[in-house]
C-alpha cells in the first residue's frame, strides 16, 4: 500500500511538491478505503474529520437546500481531492459525497494530520501551504465570477437591499474584512 500511495499522491496537485520522504511522513495519517457503490463518504452538516483522494471510481457531490431540494453539483474522478477543508478546520460539511460506482480512496484523517502539524512536520505544512494557495486562487475566481454575474448597482428598493448588495457583502467577507 505504502508504495502505491507514494506513486499516486504526487499526481494530486496539492501533494505534487512533496519529496518521497515527505509523502512517507504523511503515511500515518492515510488509510486506503474501498467505497461500495451508493455508500455515503460524508454527509452534509456532519463534522469534517477527513479529506479523501479518489484513486478509482467516481464520487458524486450533492447539495441539499433548506427547502429539501437536492442538486448534484459535481462528479469527481481519480486524482481529485474532496473534503480538503477538513485539514484546515473541522467545520460542518457543506455537501453530501457518495460513491457513484465502486470507488477506492485514500482517506487522510484530520486528527492524525493535526498531530503531524503539532509535531511541526514539514510535510504537513507543505500541504497546508498548498491548501492556502488553492483557497486564495478560488477567492480570485469567485471575485471574478461576482464581477461577471452579480449586480452591483445601488439596490432600487429597500425590500431587496440586502440581496441587492450581495456582491459587495460577499466580497467583504472574502477578501477585505478582518476576522471579526
Amino acid at each position: 500500500m505504502a508504495r502505491n500511495i507514494a506513486e499516486f499522491l504526487p499526481q494530486v496537485p496539492i501533494f505534487a511538491g512533496l519529496t518521497p520522504d515527505e509523502i512517507h511522513a504523511l503515511l500515518p495519517a492515510i488509510i486506503e478505503q474501498d467505497v461500495p457503490r451508493e455508500t455515503v463518504v460524508y454527509e452534509q452538516g456532519s463534522v469534517a474529520n477527513a479529506a479523501y483522494v479518489i484513486t478509482l471510481g467516481q464520487l458524486e457531490v450533492d447539495l441539499t437546500k433548506p427547502d429539501g431540494t437536492t442538486t448534484r453539483v459535481r462528479t469527481l474522478g481519480p486524482g481529485h481531492l474532496v473534503g480538503e477543508l477538513a485539514l484546515l478546520d473541522s467545520g460542518p460539511r457543506s455537501a453530501t459525497v457518495r460513491a457513484r460506482n465502486p470507488a477506492h480512496v485514500y482517506r487522510i484523517d484530520g486528527t492524525a494530520f493535526n498531530e503531524l502539524r503539532a509535531q511541526r512536520s514539514p510535510a504537513a505544512y507543505k500541504v497546508i501551504r498548498e491548501l492556502v494557495r488553492v483557497m486564495c486562487d478560488r477567492f480570485r475566481d469567485v471575485d471574478a465570477q461576482i464581477e461577471r454575474t452579480v449586480d452591483f448597482g445601488d439596490p432600487p428598493s429597500v425590500e431587496i437591499e440586502e440581496a441587492g448588495g450581495v456582491g459587495n457583502w460577499l466580497r467583504r467577507a472574502l477578501r477585505f474584512g478582518g476576522q471579526r
Binding site: V73, Y125, R129, V132, R140, F152, A163
Partner: protein, 179 residues
C-alpha cells in the same frame, strides 16, 4: 521606523510568537504612517507588500462599485492574498484618516510563508486561519442567500439570478471551478 515587539505581539497575525521571534520580526518590519486620503494600494497593480492596520481606518474600493466596499481597522490584515497567489491587487485601499500601518514587504512575507521552521509555521497557521475565516464567512453568507433567508421577492428576476449566482459561487469555493 521598526515596530516594537510588544506592538507586534498584540496583532492577531503574530499571536503565539515567542520573545525571540518577535524581536527578529520587529527588525524586519516597518511602520508606515499614511495621511488621510492617501492611497496605499491600487486595484490592478502588482502586489509588493502586505499590511496590518495598527491604528486608523482605511476604505476599500472596487472600480466597478461607486461606494465604499469595506473598512479596514486595527488588527486587519490586507494585501497578503495577492502575495500568496501572485495576482494583482483586486481593490484599492485608501486611508480615510491618518493611519499607522505595519508594512510586510513581499520578500519578508514570502520568506515567512515558504520557510520550513517553527517560526514560519506559526505565521502560516495564522494565515491559514485567516483564509479559513474568510472562506467560512463567505460560505455562511452564500448559504443564507441560497436558502432564501434573505426573503427576496421571488417575482424579482434579478434576485433570482443572484441566488443562482450565489449557489454557483458556493460550489466553486468548496469544490473548485467546474471543469
Amino acid at each position: 521606523m521598526n515596530p516594537t515587539p510588544d506592538m507586534l505581539s498584540r496583532l492577531p497575525l503574530f499571536s503565539g510568537l515567542n520573545a525571540a521571534e518577535l524581536d527578529m520580526l520587529s527588525a524586519e518590519l516597518h511602520l508606515r504612517e499614511v495621511g488621510a486620503s492617501k492611497v496605499v494600494c491600487t486595484q490592478g497593480d502588482r502586489a509588493d507588500s502586505a499590511y496590518v492596520v495598527v491604528s486608523g481606518r482605511l476604505g476599500v474600493y472596487k472600480e466597478s462599485i461607486s461606494h465604499r466596499l469595506a473598512w479596514l481597522e486595527s488588527g486587519d490584515v490586507f494585501g497578503h492574498i495577492a502575495l500568496i497567489d501572485g495576482g494583482v491587487r483586486s481593490a484599492t485601499c485608501q486611508a480615510e484618516e491618518a493611519s499607522t500601518l505595519l508594512q510586510i514587504t513581499g520578500d519578508v512575507f514570502k520568506r515567512l510563508f515558504a520557510a520550513d521552521n517553527g517560526f514560519a509555521y506559526k505565521v502560516l497557521d495564522r494565515v491559514a486561519l485567516d483564509v479559513v475565516a474568510r472562506l467560512r464567512e463567505v460560505t455562511d453568507r452564500l448559504g443564507k442567500v441560497v436558502s432564501g433567508r434573505l426573503n427576496p421577492d421571488e417575482a424579482d428576476a434579478r434576485v433570482a439570478e443572484q441566488v443562482a449566482a450565489a449557489s454557483l459561487l458556493l460550489t466553486t469555493i468548496e469544490f473548485g471551478p467546474a471543469e
